[in-house]
């Protein structure tokens, strides 16, 4: 999957100050959730698609991965279309679908699409460590919040998830090679996967913890320095105007 993986390029968005980027992406996601009229969606779609192009992320590969989200978006659409009461659509054979339902469904589908693209741009242009440092920076002023610990935890979680998936895929293949399909009892089959996977994951976590300790893991650590420039402010201003355009 290319989605949600950092892809190194040299673009404005890659160079952008992480703090500004996170804020911009939050503003755009919020705008998407508040958007109500067609022109709102069009503007938002335009902005995020532009961001995707500027970031030089592999467009085709992303579209391919979007299929997976496509199902999700479709479900959101269908559930809405059927469940919102209202007038039936003229000349349409299925009467349980209402016009209002279709419109609401489209609305939710558009929101979801925009938010997914926003996430793809954010994760595609920002290394995890930067994201971690940004979160730490935002949490720092809050009292009683162990910001370094939270940031490290987020970091490790994001790092482990792909490892667990890879591991799972490997184990499935290895078990298929030994004809696990012939086993008809699903509970048994789940057992063959879940326990070894859990076991391996815990082992792995143990190893990572040791490796971090061997390199003197400490919560009093070098703080990232962020540098912002005019472009960062400009991009923030653009996102802010989009946000204001949507809510006003």
């Amino acid at each position: 999957m290319t989605f949600f993986h950092y892809i190194h390029r040299d673009t404005v968005l890659h160079r952008m100050d992480g703090r500004f980027k996170l804020l911009c992406m939050l503003l755009l996601s919020l705008s998407a959730s508040f958007a109500s009229q067609l022109q709102h969606y069009l503007v938002l779609l335009f902005v995020v698609t532009l961001a995707l192009l500027i970031a030089k992320l592999p467009f085709k590969a992303l579209l391919k991965d979007l299929k997976f989200f496509g199902i999700l978006i479709l479900i959101v659409f269908v559930v809405n279309a059927f469940n919102i009461p209202g007038d039936p659509i003229p000349n349409f054979p299925i009467t349980s679908i209402s016009l209002q339902g279709v419109i609401t469904g489209l609305r939710f589908a558009a929101r979801l699409t925009i938010i997914i693209i926003v996430c793809a741009v954010l994760t595609g242009t920002t290394p995890l460590m930067t994201l971690r440092n940004v979160i730490e920076w935002y949490l720092r002023p809050l009292p009683f919040v162990p910001e370094v610990r939270i940031a490290t935890m987020i970091n490790l979680t994001f790092m482990l998830i792909p490892l667990i998936f890879d591991n799972f895929a490997e184990m499935m293949k290895a078990q298929k090679a030994r004809c696990v399909e012939l086993r008809k009892n699903p509970i048994k089959r789940i057992n063959f996967i879940v326990f070894p996977l859990l076991n391996q994951t815990l082992r792995r976590v143990d190893e990572i913890a040791y490796a971090m300790e061997a390199r003197c893991y400490s919560e009093v650590r070098t703080r990232a320095v962020f540098k912002s420039n005019k472009i960062d402010w400009l991009l923030l201003a653009i996102c802010l105007s989009v946000f204001l355009f949507v809510i006003l």
């Binding site: 190194h8 061997a214 070098t222």
Partner: protein, 249 residues
């Protein structure tokens, strides 16, 4: 005084497994020591005691004559450990980020972190890959990255746990060259392996563990003929000298 010393080092796991037993060893500055032993002989457990990752059931480890527990951070800076499985050692999403992890833990100022990362990557020849994702590196490059991550802490002693497992011929040569280079630049090297044929020519000393006990410790040319008693393959053919035991041309 020895740089690193273990006294009566014993580790018994909670399930009763005696992993290592009464190990007394001294390592001197600048030495190149190969530690060999069959699977399960306690090599990894031993290594993890040398920088305090495991606590001994009995006995102790001394660095410069002082117990390592006296200043554990200082110990871990001095004693760098490269793990058997390089994947578990990687915490960064890019090569440079991963190398920075250690110096950032030491709370060095940002410019110093950058400098030491640059220097460490140069030392292992990975500078041009600094923005790559570590998981896309080849086996040999991954090992060298793991070494760079340790070098960034500026250790005096470098322990490498099975650095050749899973590497092809060029991979072994890359890593081997790197290790010899580290020794030349003044590091004390403790190398754990059972593949003596790849490295022994470069070592000053060969130590063999067997079922958790120290059974041999001496010059490679003296010890090697007894290695097969302890499940470590004796790689010399008739008339060959220890100097032939290297994969470097």
């Amino acid at each position: 005084m020895a740089l690193l010393e273990t006294q009566d080092l014993t580790h018994i796991f909670p399930d009763g497994t005696v992993a290592i037993q009464n190990i007394n060893l001294k390592f001197n500055e600048g030495e190149f020591v190969v530690i060999a032993g069959a699977n399960g002989s306690g090599k990894t457990v031993f290594a993890r005691h040398l920088n305090g990752l495991l606590k001994p059931t009995k006995g102790k480890v001394l660095i410069d004559g002082e117990p390592i527990t006296k200043n554990i951070v200082e110990t871990r800076k001095k004693v760098g450990l490269v793990f058997q499985d390089p994947d578990s050692q990687i915490v960064g999403q890019t090569v440079a980020e991963d190398v920075a992890f250690g110096p950032e833990n030491l709370n060095l100022p940002v410019d110093q972190v950058e400098a030491v990362v640059k220097e460490s990557l140069e030392a292992v020849g990975l500078s041009r890959l600094s923005t790559r994702s570590p998981h896309t590196l080849s086996g040999g490059e991954k090992r060298r990255l793991a070494i760079a991550g340790i070098l960034a802490m500026r250790p005096k002693i470098i322990i490498l746990d099975e650095p050749f497992t899973g590497l092809d011929y060029p991979g072994v040569v890359q890593v081997l060259k790197q290790i010899i280079q580290l020794h030349k630049t003044g590091h004390t090297i403790l190398l754990i392996t059972h593949e003596l044929e790849k490295i022994l020519a470069h070592a000053d000393r060969l130590v063999i563990l067997h079922k958790g006990k120290l059974v041999e410790d001496g010059k490679p040319e003296d010890v090697i003929y007894r290695s097969e008693n302890y499940g470590v393959r004796m790689p010399l053919r008739d008339g060959e000298k220890v100097a032939a035991l290297t994969w470097l041309k």
